[in-house]
Amino acid sequence: MNAPEKLTLKDFATDQEVRWCPGCGDYAILKCVQKLMPELGVPKEKIVFVSGIGCSSRFPYYMNTYGFHTIHGRAPAIATGVKLSNPELDVWLVTGDGDGLSIGGNHMLHVLRRNVDLQILLFNNEIYGLTKGQYSPTSQLGTHSPSTPDGSLDKPLNPCSFAMGSGARFVARTIDTETKHMTPLLKRAHEHKGASFVEIYQNCPVYNDGIFDYVKDKKRAAETRLVVEHGKPLLFGVDNQKGLRLNIQMLGLEVVTLGEDGVTESDIMVHDETNRPLANMLAELRTPDFPEAIGVLYCNPEQSYVNAVRQQIEVVRAKKGIADLNDLLRQGHTWQVE
């Protein structure tokens, strides 16, 4: 047998013209994913990209794998069907804040709760791009948009908190242009068996430009970004002089400065990916009071849904033996008319 030929980024690009706006954060994510694919060692034909509707959901057209651009919000349900039919497939789901958390919020909740083995990439640009700039469920309060000319009135949803609340077993956050951070993180998401939820802060240069500058801008990032790593203390700030300490009275995290008020590194909380309460707290951290957590917030695998489905089927088949429909139809009370 021939050794499988080594694939490159080009093998995963299609001949379709990429039609995102110039400067869209989606380009960087696409490049990162195309580059990552050969490293995963999965045969191209076993990879499926499923998406809903929106700018991000055009993603499958640009991946030279199997792909299904479906309908608004329903990608998690369609991806679940793909996995139920063929658990061998490596299924990626690409969605956005409107697709995944508004019209498709219910499906997102259930695909996470069920722990269907998928990589879910949620491009969060806090706006509806494809429909021309209406506010989304992650838009900041007071967002001015065509549908909210006087400012939006409903509070935004936090995607990672939503995922935690839905029972996700892998929750992570990264930033569109931070390829070096995103690549290993997506690898982790891929390794994880079960639903892996990755929120990607993504800039929309047309309708919501600069919304994540506070965390992307190199000068401000030290104060606004908390890069979490399993087993490492939750430190941030210039020269890592700040950290997060558990305030037991408040049952929450608080920002402290090393060297002030006798604070030493031993007071700083150490990140533990398997600690659910900690992951909940990390997901909720928001500027300006806190830095925002980037990295794998939670990873605590358990059996994936489709595996459980297949196992149950095997158990039933072992118990019932070879299935014969003619036999089944003749079981129970039958009678012969001569």
Binding site: T70, I71, G81, S85, L89, L325, V337
Partner: protein
Amino acid sequence: MAVVESIPVSEDPDSSFSSVVVRFAGDSGDGMQLTGSNFTEATALHGNDLATFPDFPAEIRAPAGATFGVSAFQIYFGSDEVTTAGDDVDVLVVMNPAALITNLKDLLVGGMIIADQDAFTSRNLSRAGYTSNPLEDGSLDAYRLISIDITKQVIRSVEPFGLSHKFAVRCKNMWTLGLVMWLFDRDKQITIDNLNTKFALKQDIAKANIAALNAGHSYAETAELPSGVEVYKIQKAEVEKGLYRNTTGSEALAFGLIAGGQLADISLTFASYPITPASSLLHTLSAHKEFDVVTFQAEDEIAAACAAIGASFAGSLGITSSSGPGISLKGEAISLACATELPMVIVSTQRGGPSTGLPTKTEQSDLNQALYGRHADTTLPVIASSTPGNCFDVAIEAVRLATKFSTPVLLLSDGYLANASEPWIIPDLNDYDSFKVVHETNPEGFSPANRDEDTLARVWAKPGTPGLEHRIGGIEKDFETGDISYDADNHQKMTDVRKAKIDGIVRFIPNQEVSLGNAQGELVVVGWGSTYGAIHQAVKRCRARGADVSHIHIRYLLPMPGNLGELLKGYKKILVPELNTGQLVNVLRSKYLIDAEQLNKISGQPFKIRELVEGIHSLLGEVK
């Protein structure tokens, strides 16, 4: 002669009757459905032809004694061909006043009432709306009333088992069943076996129920019944030879889907969301994981349809199922399946509507929804089953059409078919032609837009196949390459080809046959779906009286059989009875420009034979 209008309570009880309609009615907690299904089994084993009609409320446990909580089970059995659950009731068994007041209108004058007098308390009487006790005030003089202290009898008969009063009283359905079994000379062994199986882990309950069953039987046998009430003998029916079992439409449909999957040599993914009266399909398939079928209870109707589509994309046959309101929710997804030309089966088990409507009652009001209920030009094959047993064949046909033409197929059933049971000649899968699915594997010249020249079906290349990586989606695609295309001419071409594919199915379905009667004549009654049995009997009766009337029953509603237009034009008059306000009739009028009369009933109940006979008379004049 086929006319069956005899009453068992005749002057001469020893004589044999051709047919009887018995209805059991009580509180929804009284176990009437269980009583009915046990009586059905015994009746089938006795050799009568039969049909049943379970009619139960949407409330699971309505307050005891309430009229809206009355649950009924009707069985029509006889020595002649039986195709409906019967028009008028000959024997009405009532467990309380509410059951009497809500069912009495269907009892024939002179018919028999068996009532539990212990349940006719002042409280229950006033709940049902009686100001005096009908068992005592003479208001039932037109009927043969058998009033028995059933509750007391039951408590006495189960005393040795030490049950609480509540559990003891629950055995009264079996006591009553025992009595009715004696009345019609049924063998109660099958019920005893059933009780032993059902309560295998609760021996005292099993024993008490069996004791109650035997006690009811003995009560009747030992001549404690009023004089003149004796065993009624119903001759065995002259039915087609073969091996039989009872089936409901839901069961036959589930088995048909499994059979279809086997004939297509393809695994099934069945995704559904609970909704009355469609859920039993999900239950049946979920209980048969030994076959190549994965079942999935989705978070909602939309997700169920989408999971089915995802499964079809991945190479299985995705199937989803619901009733009207749920089918509405699935509409957008079904259009995606039309746009991407993926095989899929959608089972629509119709119920009374609109909105929540009458969830447990039957109606045919979702034909328009099946034909047109989606955005844009999304044409798809629509087929309908006509009897519980016929659901098996129609399910196989749905799988055949979906896989052969790479299209979603909508299969119409309804609440009556889903729940009603009938004796069914058990099919042999070896008698069916297979229609094996072949997924594309050859990368040479592959495009996801490739079509079969004959059927126009789009190629089915499943993920996992090397060299065939491709993308599909809801955006319009180029006719040649399958890539996204916003080109004007291309959209025209794609719309045309999708329609031509579905229209072309007419070449692959059988011509319309005449169910009963002649290929031309004075009048034809045209039906579809579960009205088959009632129309058949009505036409049979009228023909027996010399009327020139025939029956056509349409299985293929879209596309319609190629000869249907010409066939219909061979009759002077056309009558289209439907359990809706006139949906098929409008299709026939607009498609064939024919002058069809309509006959409609929207009460949540099936047609009575008499209603159809009257409809025929109104067009032909009274046939003597």
